[in-house]
Symmetry: C2
Amino acid sequence: MEDKGISQAVIARLPRYYRYLGELSDEGVERISSGELSDLMHVTASQIRQDFNHFGGFGQQGYGYNVAYLYQQIGTILGMDQTHKLVIVGAGNLGCALAKYGNFERRGFLIEGLFDRDEKLIGKKVRGIEIRPMEQLESFVKDHKIDIGVLTIPKTEAVAVSKRLVAGGVRGIWNFAHVDLDLPKDVKVENVHLSDSLMRLAYAMQ
Amino acid sequence: MEDKGISQAVIARLPRYYRYLGELSDEGVERISSGELSDLMHVTASQIRQDFNHFGGFGQQGYGYNVAYLYQQIGTILGMDQTHKLVIVGAGNLGCALAKYGNFERRGFLIEGLFDRDEKLIGKKVRGIEIRPMEQLESFVKDHKIDIGVLTIPKTEAVAVSKRLVAGGVRGIWNFAHVDLDLPKDVKVENVHLSDSLMRLAYAMQ
């Protein structure tokens, strides 16, 4: 999809719309007005209309939005009609927690492999996914056409491992390591820095 | 601290400055110019100067910033000179992963209790922290002056549990449940919606 110059702020809001519309659809709701969606999501109705206008509107004046259609369209924009193949590097507590979380698969994110440098973990399985040695990382990523690497390892190793993932053909990194990665521009990085998040909460509470 | 009208965008950047300055300080670096910090952090020097000006600058013209002083000042702004007491509700994979992560304590976030509704888990310990039954939640929060509740439970339970935490006196919720909470304005909520984050990555990769 070509870049339509949609702001990061709008894009950041799409997954939340997608979640609410999916829940409405599950509840059998067929149509919803921007006003009703506004009440539900605590976002102004004008914000909703503006956001949806970026993608062609999806609405008919006076009739509200068709929930199933809007859900499907936003899903397509978010790439939910595609599947992604993931490996998780770091089979510690957080890595295993992510591997065990089945909901990612429902959204097309398939966890194909787990990697760890701890020899005692090699060969064990987490929700059926085998833990493999780090030596196999590049070849596995290449052979299985993995497109997303998840980093749940200490920050001291994350930079080097991210480069190995990219060498294997990965185009996206979901980075839980507390370090900023420096990768080619065509590789996308989404950081989840939990300590930063907790500090923001503490700041807001002051 | 009174609200100085600092934008959310600036506040969101502070933990990252804090992290880099902490690392520089650990490495024995005493002074750094906005240009050097810019190269390191991939943020423009003018952005750095603007951000720091919100808090009184911290710099002397031509001499660069005093790393230790800046680290300490940003730490104070972020409330790092205070300690917070946390409970984690939901001793599943993610809850236990957070409980085992020792780095939060170094930053003054003390995990005092873990709660779960699964009777088989009650009394077990994670890194020395006992798992307690849900019935004790409000009284524990009140007696131990807990100020932050961490939600690592399914979204179907999160809304009700968040209200119980607030009734016990919690002023901040770190919410990993995939649902938006609706709480009084003086209670701060920081959401970590992992599925949304993964979808943003997939969108960026298109």
